[in-house]
């Protein structure tokens, strides 16, 4: 039990605070510099080395044109992304990028990470697109001149950029969709004397009782999903001014937890488990620059999450009767500073500290507290056509608990990343390498009867070689990029039964090796009042197990749930306020066990269509939108025996002033 911060970190804090103080005092001496209103801090001479990072973005009209409900829906159109979805509106939705695993994907709202110290994953179904300007995916991480250390600390990063209102407005939406789904949404926004803000609220209820069918040589099962209902409410608000941004978010839901569809003789023993979530966070960020050479940024966030899982009902007479409550609180602060001696060179540093506490009424469990500190030193050069970025990240995790054998030993580790790019004739050739790890989560370490306090972190090494080309003309633009990559993951954290016992425990086991190709092509054409867009993505990947060369059954065999091919095509056509879009998604065959070649999830083709029209009468707008998802009514799964909904419809009416 060591509550002291080590000297190294004290020095790091001092250096960062000093940098902050120097920049602040410089700001006081140069009031004219601080008046600038910055949406995003950018250098005057050259853009940050954007193309050096592998990224994909969906924003603006493209994002609105897709038939999407949540952030998870939008991300499935990105190359290299595998979605895990337990089906329905209420099913847990996580993404896995380039087979690194969901816990290696950091999700950021306006640059501040959404964390879950308990299990390390973020349910993307909880985040709406209605308040988002764009959704971006960065392999490795974003490369801006002034970033927090947390932004360097994941294998892949998803950025949700909130929309800054440009005018005052008020809008209401009502939606009726298949499976007894009703949704109402209210959005108000303003732009007043440099202040912008919005309030966005949503309430949704769905019975989620969609039909499913399994037809194969060995079964002909049809049915309707039960205990798949969800009710949720979400309210969020944001306030911006220049380099200041803030966001407050509250989400409250109750949902049924349906199980896998397995052989039963009747519907007598259905799953009755239910889950309640209450998530709250408030965050603020301020960034500014001084002398045109110094940038600084401060981030802060408080998160409070509550989860209850209950199966203790009179109708549950056949499984364990549990009623567990989990409460997490998390406080986070980051200070970042960057110095740009010349326009083509910058050095930056950031110190982040996060304090998390997890309480649960599990047996043999005690409160767990975690202090997670991160320090990064980074340099970027953008000289003529050559771009270079390098960073060294240090992370330290210290836990305190009286649960069982006490806390794990503190974890200390440095990890490097380096990127190079060269641009010629508009074509950028990039290469990057990144080492990063994911620390064991609090569940991995301390969860009753599973946790293992001796876990090592899960290490990843990523290597990428890519090419990117942009072309923009008056009426049209084109953007094409392709990357080949290689990932190695060591010490995978998995739950395994122990040799010769009936007990399961978290273990470090396994080494996977992944090679792949991601490619995207985007085209936009705007003749007169028409708008045409074509968005395509393609992924080829070979992800294999390299754990034990002696194990002929497993070694060099594909990793479960990892498709070899996947691709997506979205076509959008718009004329004035009439918009039609159709998207096609193909995901190839995926194994779900290595025991039998028959244990595969079949490939699926998903076609969605959306038609919308907005009629403006003076300042009032009336909108109508009709969507059909899974037009072919294809039955498919992301997890075996958890069927996804087939064809379904949505009708949305909107009113705005």
């Amino acid at each position: 039990m060591n509550y002291k911060l080590n000297h190294y970190y004290l020095q790091a804090i001092l250096v960062t605070v000093l940098a902050f103080a120097v920049t602040a005092s410089a700001s006081a001496q140069n009031p004219t510099d601080s008046i600038k209103e910055l949406h995003e801090v950018t250098v005057t001479s050259k853009q940050p080395v954007r193309t050096i990072a592998t990224s994909q973005t969906l924003g603006g009209a493209d994002l609105q044109a897709l038939s999407t409900t949540s952030v998870a829906d939008a991300l499935k159109y990105f190359s290299g992304v595998q979605i895990k979805d337990y089906g329905g509106l209420g099913g847990l939705k996580t993404i896995n990028v380039r087979s690194l695993g969901a816990q290696h994907v950091g999700v950021y709202v306006d640059g501040i990470r959404i964390t879950n110290a308990q299990n390390g994953t973020v349910d993307l179904g909880k985040f709406s697109l209605s308040s988002m300007e764009s959704v971006s995916l960065y392999n490795a991480n974003k490369l801006d001149y002034c970033q927090s250390a947390s932004e360097y600390a994941s294998g892949a990063t998803v950025y949700l950029q909130t929309r800054r209102p440009t005018h005052d407005s008020l809008s209401v939406q009502l939606r009726n969709a298949s499976f007894h789904t009703w949704m109402a949404k209210l959005n108000g926004q303003f732009n007043w004397k440099g202040w912008q803000g919005f309030v966005d609220g949503e309430y949704c209820t769905s019975r989620g009782d969609y039909p499913f069918r399994y037809q194969s040589q060995y079964e002909n099962t049809t049915g309707r999903r039960t205990n798949s209902d969800i009710r949720y409410g979400r309210v969020e608000a944001a306030l911006f001014k220049g380099g200041f941004s803030s966001h407050i978010y509250y989400y409250d839901s109750e949902r049924g937890c349906p199980g896998g569809i397995v052989r039963r003789l009747s519907g007598k023993y259905e799953n009755v488990g239910r889950e309640w979530d209450r998530d709250f966070f408030v965050q603020a960020s301020y960034q500014d620059r001084f002398f045109n050479k110094i940038l600084f940024k401060a981030n802060t966030k408080y998160t409070n999450e509550y989860l209850r899982y209950c199966t203790k009902y009179p109708e549950n007479q056949n499984t364990a009767r549990v009623d567990n409550h989990y409460r997490q609180q998390d406080a986070y602060t980051a200070l970042c500073a960057a110095y740009q001696p010349w326009s083509w060179l910058s050095f930056s540093t950031s110190y982040d500290i996060r304090y998390s506490i997890l309480k649960a009424d599990l047996k043999r469990f005690d409160d767990v507290k975690r202090v997670d500190q991160k320090l990064v030193f980074a340099a970027q050069m953008n000289w003529h056509d050559i771009q270079v970025a390098a960073s060294a990240l240090h992370q330290r995790y210290s836990d305190w608990t009286f649960a069982n054998a006490g806390a794990a030993e503190p974890l200390d580790k440095w990890t490097p990343a380096v990127s190079l790019a060269y641009t010629f004739y508009g074509v950028t050739l990039r290469w990057w390498y990144k080492e990063i790890f994911r620390a064991p989560t609090l569940n991995d370490l301390y969860y009753t009867q599973v946790g293992n306090r001796n876990l090592k972190p899960e290490d990843t090494k990523q290597l990428n070689l890519g090419v990117e080309y942009h072309l923009s003309r008056k009426q049209w633009s084109m953007d094409v990029q392709a990357d080949i990559y290689q990932n190695k993951i060591e010490n995978r954290i998995v739950c395994l039964p122990l040799k010769g016992t009936y007990t399961w425990s978290m273990m470090n086991y396994g080494y996977t090796f992944c090679r792949g190709l991601n490619a995207t092509l985007k085209g936009h054409y705007h003749p007169g009042q028409w708008n045409f867009s074509l968005l395509t993505s393609f992924t080829w990947q070979r992800d294999v197990d390299r754990t034990d060369p002696e194990d002929k059954d497993m070694y060099d065999k594909p990793i479960c749930y990892s498709p070899c091919f996947s691709s997506g095509v979205t076509a959008i056509a718009g004329w004035r306020t009439l918009l039609f879009s159709t998207s096609y998604l193909y995901v190839g065959e995926r194994m779900w066990s290595k025991a039998d070649p028959e244990d595969v999830l079949e490939p699926y083709h998903n076609i969605d269509m959306k038609l919308s029209y907005t009629h403006n009468i003076k300042k009032i707008s009336l909108g109508l939108c009709f969507e059909v998802c899974d037009v072919l009514d294809e039955q498919y799964e992301h997890i075996p025996r958890y069927p996804m909904p087939g064809r379904n419809y949505k009708l949305t009416l909107s009113f705005g002033i």
């Binding site: 896998g260 056949n318 293992n452 010769g500 016992t501 497993m554």
Partner: protein
């Protein structure tokens, strides 16, 4: 050349006649993936790793847990997460399925009834109503109707079950103790009168969590306790059923778990175990042979050796995840399974009765439960056939275990009566 073929054919015939090894292996599959499977192994080779599907055209269900032979023509399988007790013939074809015992665990039989332990709290019956229990229960299935005719509450989460002299001996685990919080681990063995399905008594072993495989050797049981995985260490028990009728001092503890155990032809227990604690993250592997009568008689002073026949010890030590051990009660051949990585296929190992490794065969996910089919000729010997019914009062069953009315009996047909085969000739 002709002679050579004849010689080979004769050799094969002799080998087959000698071995006649037929094993049904239950692969648990993965929870909620609906991929429980049967492997069928015959004379040194896997015939199928989806034997139930091949024979019936549909899937077995989710997480099967136990398999037993009921009589010559009937086998019962407890399919835990499907809430089904499935009955099949020895050729693999399905006969019936009983749904009324949710969260079923382990089985035993007297040839007329099948007794099933359940972690659940409700039990449907033949009479159309449902019994509710606070703790777990044991249910009695009548093979003439394949319906539950009686049930008896025992401890929380009862696991292993054995029949001795008309009484059921049930090892209680309390396995949901960590999740449910309203009860602790159980430490008792419940004794239930199989005829009346009334609880006779609970024997407190003072050892928590009597979980896992439970083998029987006549009057003796081999019971595993993994402990509480934290402070209370794992151990094993030899339980004397005969003595339990008159005294609660009817068991002797040994300081090694009996995670996987089986009974040899000469009545000893072969035991594979691993003691594990979440506090240390360490486990200790053990392999034992126990002579239960000596062990009980000497109060644990002798009768336990750290040996296994032949190469078993080394072979089990080299497995990734040992998952079961079994001795064919008809031939003495020994079997073991390795669950491997749990994502991939497990392996079935076969040893000679002396412990010489004969082969390793790829099966399916989590192969953990075995059933030997009797060799040809085991049931059809005239020695086990009586010419006349021994008394007039017992029920009569066909060879599929179904109850037959006296008026429907056909002359010249073989029936089962009073646990014996009869040739009906009236």
């Amino acid at each position: 050349m002709k002679r050579l073929f004849t010689l080979i054919a004769l050799t094969l015939l002799i080998y087959n006649a000698r071995a006649q090894e037929r094993i049904i292996l239950l692969n648990e599959g993965m929870w909620q993936a609906d991929n429980g499977r049967l492997s069928y192994f015959e004379n040194g080779a896997i015939v199928s790793n989806q034997w139930f599907r091949d024979k019936n055209g549909y899937k077995l269900g989710d997480t099967p847990n136990d398999i037993i032979q009921v009589n010559e023509n009937l086998i019962a399988i407890a399919i835990n997460w499907s809430n089904i007790v499935q009955f099949i013939k020895p050729d693999g074809t399905a006969v019936a399925a009983t749904e009324d015992i949710p969260n079923n665990r382990r089985l035993c039989t007297d040839g007329k009834y099948v007794y099933v332990t359940s972690y659940g709290h409700e039990c449907g019956t033949l009479y159309g109503f449902t019994w509710y229990f606070n703790k777990g229960f044991v249910a009695k299935i009548d093979l003439s109707t394949f319906k539950v005719i009686a049930a008896c509450e025992v401890g929380y989460e009862p696991e292993g079950i054995a029949l001795y002299k008309g009484h059921l001996f049930i090892a209680n685990t309390g396995g949901y103790a960590e999740q449910e919080g309203d009860h602790g681990f159980e430490t008792t063995v419940s004794i239930v009168n199989a005829a009346t399905m009334q609880l006779v008594k609970n024997v407190d072993t003072h050892v928590p969590n009597l979980y896992g495989e439970m083998s029987q050797s006549g009057r003796y049981l081999c019971i595993n306790s993994p402990g509480d995985y934290y402070w209370t260490p794992a151990c094993g028990l030899i339980f004397d059923c005969e003595k339990a009728f008159t005294s609660n001092d009817c068991f002797v503890k040994f300081n090694y778990p009996a995670t996987y155990n089986t009974t040899t032809l000469d009545g000893k227990f072969l035991v594979i175990g691993s003691a594990f604690s979440y506090l240390t993250g360490q486990y200790e592997f053990s392999q034992l042979t126990i002579e239960p009568w000596t062990f009980i008689k000497t109060r644990g002073q002798s009768g336990l050796t750290h040996t296994l026949p032949g190469t078993l010890k080394a072979n089990f030590a080299s497995m990734d995840q040992p998952y079961g051990i079994y001795v064919n009660p008809y031939t003495g051949y020994i079997y073991g399974t390795d669950a491997g990585s749990f994502e991939g296929a497990g392996y079935l190992y076969q040893w000679s009765p002396e412990g010489q490794l004969l082969g390793k065969h790829k099966v399916y996910i989590n192969p953990g439960h075995f059933l030997a089919i009797p060799p040809d000729g085991y049931y059809d010997g005239i020695s086990s056939l009586t010419a006349e019914p021994s008394s007039g009062r017992e029920e009569t069953y066909d060879l599929q275990g179904r109850k037959i009315d006296a008026s429907s009996l056909k002359k010249g047909t073989i029936y089962i009566k009073d646990k014996k085969k009869i040739l009906y000739n009236q």
